[in-house]
């Protein structure tokens, strides 16, 4: 991107003293699929179980999907060599689109590419290939290209189109979470104001306001928010107290629920439970700007290692949801992980829809008038 941060959505919400926008960076390349995030999330937020325990037949994922009671979901995908190569190809295609990059303007260095377009021989001109047209992923950031790229370049000179490090098998593991979009569909369509934008730019449900109309469920382009069908409410501010007897617990169902980015913990300058529990720092938490910067650094680094399959998801403020608060580094097309490839907040078309509906309304009234005018008085 050209360096501009996504507009802080707190400005739209008219906060007088905007805090920095907070967000996640989930680096799936170092996720080990331990599900500590799922457990920590459930434990901290006291979410009920999803369903009966069952094996879903999808590798090690028996959680299924994000939902009202599952605010972190670890996906498992098993892939063979050809799928890995396809992922690399599609990642390379992304680079070759000439996405705008941070860094100096495109140099005059000719985009020398190897026949397979993987690792360029442009170390001699570190300021050059900013366009990414060379396939190096726009390595013209501060870090010199040479060091990290050396090993992979040496080995890629055998002319094979498959990167020498390509394994014949891989597991993709990715911890999915609410995206906390800049333009949040759920927030836009909520009729009661139960969903609100926090001072940190995140989107949270006030469960004592929500009347469970379900509009937000359809409004989310990522299929994150869901209406809870069971569960009870225990106050979350008395952690040391013994569990409440079932007779005292307040039923907490029929309302929409999703990740709050641990709003209660943020209020106390704490890291969200999932990020705190993550043993490999695959889930990083912090100011959204620094998260995006970290993500870009990481993807550049991976491209330099020839891992062109890596790509960012949600870092682009010009996308259909205005960029997401939770940014991901993915190793394949988003739909492989169950993420939509081109989400668009439905509210973006709302003025147009109102216009069309207005035309339809005028037509209906006109037809009624004509029908009676032509029928005359009786």
């Amino acid at each position: 991107m050209t360096g501009e941060a996504a507009a802080n959505p707190t400005a739209d919400a008219h906060y007088d003293h905007p805090h920095p926008r907070k967000g996640f960076f989930t680096d799936t390349s170092i996720c080990i699929g331990c599900k500590a995030c799922e457990v920590a999330c459930k434990e901290w937020n006291r979410n009920p179980v999803d369903s009966d325990y069952e094996l879903l037949g999808s590798s090690y994922d028996n959680t299924g999907a994000l939902g009202a009671n599952t605010w972190r979901h670890v996906a498992f995908i098993e892939q063979g060599a050809d799928q890995i190569e396809r992922a690399r190809e599609s990642g390379r295609a992304l680079v070759n689109l000439g996405m705008p990059k941070v860094g100096p303007p495109q140099g005059s260095v000719s985009p020398t590419t190897t026949p397979q377009g993987t690792i360029p021989v442009t170390q001699a001109a570190p300021a050059g290939c900013a366009s990414g047209a060379c396939g190096c992923g726009g390595s013209a950031t501060d870090a010199p290209v040479t060091d990290s790229a050396d090993s992979s370049v040496a080995s890629s000179s055998d002319g094979s189109s498959v990167h020498p490090d390509t394994p014949d098998f891989r597991w993709l593991m990715s911890s999915d979470v609410c995206k906390h979009c800049t333009n949040a569909g759920c927030l836009d369509v909520c009729p009661t104001g139960a969903l609100f934008r926090t001072e940190y730019g995140t989107v949270v449900v006030q469960d004592d306001i929500c009347n469970g109309c379900g509009t937000c469920v359809a409004g989310c382009p990522f299929g994150v928010i869901e209406r809870r069908s069971d569960g009870v409410f225990e106050p979350k501010n008395q952690r040391d107290a013994p569990p409440m007897p079932d007779t005292v617990k307040v039923p907490e169902h029929g309302v929409a629920q999703k990740c709050t980015l641990c709003y209660d913990r943020m209020k106390n300058d704490q890291t969200p439970a999932c990020a705190q529990a993550c043993p490999t720092t695959s889930i990083k938490y912090g100011d959204r700007d620094s998260m995006v910067a970290t993500a870009r650094e990481r993807v550049t680094q991976m491209h330099e290692q020839g891992k062109t399959e890596s790509r960012l998801y949600g870092a682009n403020p010009k996308d259909g949801v205005g960029g997401t608060g939770s940014v991901f580094l993915l190793l394949d097309e988003p739909e492989t992980y169950g993420l939509p490839p081109d989400p668009r907040v439905p509210t973006a078309d709302l003025p147009y829809m109102f216009k069309r509906a207005g035309m339809a309304v005028a037509g209906m009234l006109a037809v009624g008038a004509v029908a009676f005018a032509s029928g005359g008085r009786r």
């Binding site: 879903l56 037949g57 999808s58 590798s59 999907a65 996906a75 892939q79 990642g91 992304l94 680079v95 990414g132 992923g137 569909g185 369509v189 909520c190 009729p191 009661t192 009347n211 469970g212 109309c213 379900g214 509009t215 359809a218 989310c220 299929g223 209406r227 169902h253 029929g254 870009r296 790509r311 682009n316 996308d319 394949d332 988003p334 739909e335 492989t336 169950g338 939509p340 490839p341 081109d342 989400p343 668009r344 439905p346 078309d349 709302l350 829809m353 109102f354 069309r356 509906a357 035309m359 339809a360 309304v361 037509g363 209906m364 009234l365 004509v370 029908a371 009676f372 029928g375 009786r378």
Partner: protein
Amino acid sequence: MSVSEFDNYRPPEEPRRKRKGRRRAPGSAFRRGGDGSREMPMVPEPEFTSYYGRPIVKAPPWEAPIGAYLFLGGLAGGSSILAFGGELTDRPLLRRNMRLSAITAASLGTVALVTDLGRPERFLNMMRTIKPTSPMSLGSWLLAYYATHAGVAAAAEVDRVTHSKLPLGPFRPVLRFVDRPAAAGAAVLGAPLAAYTAVLLGDTAVPTWNAMHKDLPFVFVSSASLAAGGLAMLTTPISETAPARTFALAGVAGELVAMHLMKERMDSVAVEPLEQGRPGTWLMWSERLAIAGAAGTILGGRRRWVAALSGAALVASSALTRFGVFQAGKDSVKDPKYTVEPQRNRLAKRRAAGITDDSITTAG
């Protein structure tokens, strides 16, 4: 997605059936076991990858009451227009029947809406704020205003029919005074009541509903017109229903054209749920009933029983349209291809047009 060598011993899969065509049920990946209920085929689909065939977006937790409300809201709105027309052109029976139909349909629709809430006891929270970005919020206010007007008009009508038997006391002159303004208000608000539900469905991430957002309002107001016209023909003597017949015929023509244009302009993948499975059958019968009702209206509209039969066919047609559209959207969520393929298509189209900076997936 398994690459274990043991999978070589799997018996050969039956050849993949063609995706297009009416016979294939929607939500196929879901039914093939993507919900985890049984083993699912491990050979990935060649057209697109998905996460074990699981849905990407979620369907709203809306059940049959919402489908019924789509129908009843339109019926109420159209009825108020006919009632006010009958009032202005001195058709007392049309006015009476349509006023009572309108408030009945609106009341049933409101009950349907409330029962479908997750927390029905909090239904008044709908009135907690006015939110222009939320069709549900605007629609709730619209319904409240409409039902107030239609309710006052119906009360005045009941008072008149019962020869001032309602225990109104000093408020009777007030009711008489607001009678006509209330009826006019209900007629004017009736049209948006019939149309806003199209925006409500269009303003979602549900692929088929979202793909309909351009033309669905026209389908819905047409459907409301033919339903209200049909109800008038069913309930009211033919001597007073000539304008209602015109209204219904215009509705049939509008719906046939709008539905056709809408399907034409939709993404070729996203349109499939409208043509397959239960919604496909319902919409096909809706079209047949609309045509039959229109033919009956034109040919035998001056006979009471033919008019009544045609009217019933039109009302049924409208109900089938609403349930068909409603269910098609819910079906489109079950198979991720309806989410992925239209999105990939539009992304590819934008890239082909040279717009490469607005993808959510970036290389850096």
